[in-house]
């Protein structure tokens, strides 16, 4: 079946922010949100604002239905077996911390090995460092080769040492590298490891099937996929989630509370303590609908097209170094540096032209150290990105080079 192409001009009409004239090249950081998403949230606030799971009146039932409907949408979106496996969190960071706390503290023992990668985001490093320090466990990092791709030989070697946990991002936010996740999960499962995949940068940009992937945990954030901030997902295989203790404790995650003993709620609510981000979860459901309407194959195809265009345009600039693999093996992210111009200076100059560009370490300081740079500039793309925004970036770069000449 031929893949549809995105009608970017029509898509941009759904995003009022583009009326400001900005070229938004920071979607890997957070995406923009269409009217459909903000509209769904507004409708909740204006028509059935109430708490969920707790009240018997009609608007609370409506709120509960809409809130729970997102769970089924997300389940289908990533092809999980059951909505019991879809836990709402505030985002990827909270999802990973949930696993580090509720799974890690129970399962990681002294001397155990945890395998991470040098291209992981701090949110998939620091929770494990805390756990490892507490349990006296060890962490090893899979290195990258010169193209910014994980070293498979070293990964295989580390697996031979029998890690308890393997955790890595499917797509690197700093380099855009798409990791061979299916192979990596399969290899890690063969040696009996529990596997967490950080899907923060993959879920928004390509079709995801967690069952085909075969991982135990999969985490992502709504705000990078057209949804609002404050709503994210932890997918966990049912048996694994069942065996875990709660993360946060309090209201809603319980079945019965007596002074001497408490029984916990069933999955997934066992992990959802306290009043939840109701509007945000409803917004996330609308974002999933929006992406489904576009088709995730079409989303990926569009990003590949933009990335190829940008990769070529940037590679043509004198004194510009692009980090990471060729466009076919990278998501819509291009990290680069300019001779003699610090990324922050470039970002400031680009900002004058209303070009939103990220500069910094991208929450991947171990990777920056590995690359021998303190920071890079990063352009990232999404469903609404058009080539003219890339052209504006190139103009800003040339302007920076003129100023610093």
């Amino acid at each position: 079946m031929a893949i549809r192409t995105l009608d970017v001009a029509a898509i941009r009409k759904d995003f009022p922010i583009f009326e400001t004239g900005i070229a938004y090249l920071d979607s890997a950081n957070t995406s923009q949100r269409p009217r459909q998403v903000t509209g769904a949230m507004l409708e909740y606030f204006e028509k059935f604002n109430s708490n969920i799971h707790r009240a018997a009146y009609r608007i609370a039932e409506e709120a509960t239905v809409r809130y729970e409907a997102t769970r089924e949408k997300v389940r289908a979106f990533i092809n999980a077996a059951s909505t019991k496996e879809i836990v709402y969190t505030r985002g990827t960071t909270e999802a990973i911390n949930l696993v580090a706390y509720a799974w890690g503290r129970k399962n990681i023992k002294q001397g155990d090995l945890i395998v991470l990668t040098i291209i992981d985001h701090h949110s998939n490093i620091v929770p494990w460092q805390i756990l490892a320090a507490e349990k006296d466990a060890r962490i090893e990092y899979v290195d990258i080769d010169d193209r910014g791709e994980l070293r498979r030989d070293q990964f295989a070697e580390l697996l031979n040492r029998g890690p308890k946990l393997v955790a890595f991002n499917l797509v690197s936010n700093a380099l855009g590298t798409i990791n061979p996740a299916h192979e990596m999960v399969a290899a890690a499962k063969r040696v009996g490891a529990t596997v967490l995949v950080d899907g923060a940068q993959s879920t928004p940009h390509q079709p995801i099937d967690v069952r085909a992937l075969g991982c135990d945990f999969y985490a992502f954030s709504g705000h990078k996929m057209l949804g609002p901030t404050g709503a994210g997902i932890l997918y966990g295989r049912r048996e694994v989630l069942e065996a875990m203790d709660p993360f946060m404790a309090g209201g809603d995650m319980i079945k019965t509370v007596r002074v001497e003993e408490t029984t916990y709620h069933d999955l997934p609510w066992k992990f959802e303590a306290g009043t939840q981000a109701i509007a945000e979860v409803i917004g996330l459901g609308a974002a999933v609908d929006y992406l489904n309407d576009l088709g995730m194959d079409a989303v990926r195809a569009h990003e590949l097209d933009i990335t190829e265009y940008a990769y070529e345009a940037l590679s043509d600039v004198d004194g510009l170094t692009v980090y990471g693999p060729p466009p076919s093996r990278r998501a819509g992210v291009i990290s680069f540096s300019l001779d003699g111009i610090h990324p922050h200076d470039l970002a400031t100059i680009a900002d004058r032209d209303q070009v939103c560009l990220r500069a910094g370490h991208h929450c991947a300081m171990p990777l920056m150290t590995r690359l021998g740079v303190a920071a890079t500039a990063r352009a990232s793309f999404y469903v609404y990105t058009q080539k003219d925004e890339v052209d504006r970036l190139v103009s800003s770069i040339k302007e920076a080079q003129r100023i610093f000449a």
Binding site: H342, H344, T348, R352, G360, A374
Partner: protein, 132 residues
């Protein structure tokens, strides 16, 4: 407003100080030596001072980072040479920003003030200073 502030941001003398930093390098056997970094953007500034009879006889800075952090350090060293240390201790945030002469956005203020932090922590021998 944003646009006019930015238009003036990379004035020629800032680029000049960035590309041709004054008093760049190290002193042998400095009386005071201190370095600070700004992990968020990776800017580093260090300063060496030779102090004779309470006067900064010589100063050198080293480091790397954005134009704002490096130009600000270069400008500061020019001002410090020959200044009594007690006077140098009184240099404040507004002095440094005034010397830079540009409108700095909140996101870049840490870059502009990194060298002042080096001076203060170095001169007072303090572990850290209040950034505000």
């Amino acid at each position: 407003m944003m646009a006019t502030a930015d238009d003036q941001f990379y004035r020629e003398y800032i680029i000049d100080h960035y590309k041709h930093p004054r008093n760049y390098g190290r002193l042998e056997h400095p009386d005071i030596s201190h370095e600070e970094d700004n992990p968020l953007c990776g800017d580093v500034v260090g300063m060496d001072f030779r102090v004779t009879d309470g006067v900064i006889e010589d100063v050198r800075f080293h480091g790397r980072g954005c134009a704002i952090s490096q130009a600000s350090a270069s400008l500061l060293t020019e001002r410090l040479k020959g200044m009594p240390l007690d006077e140098a201790k009184k240099i404040n945030k507004d002095d440094v920003l005034g010397e830079l002469g540009i409108d700095i956005s909140p996101a870049r203020i840490k870059c502009a003030l990194l060298s002042l932090k080096v001076l203060k922590v170095g001169a007072y021998g303090l572990a850290d200073i209040d950034e505000e």
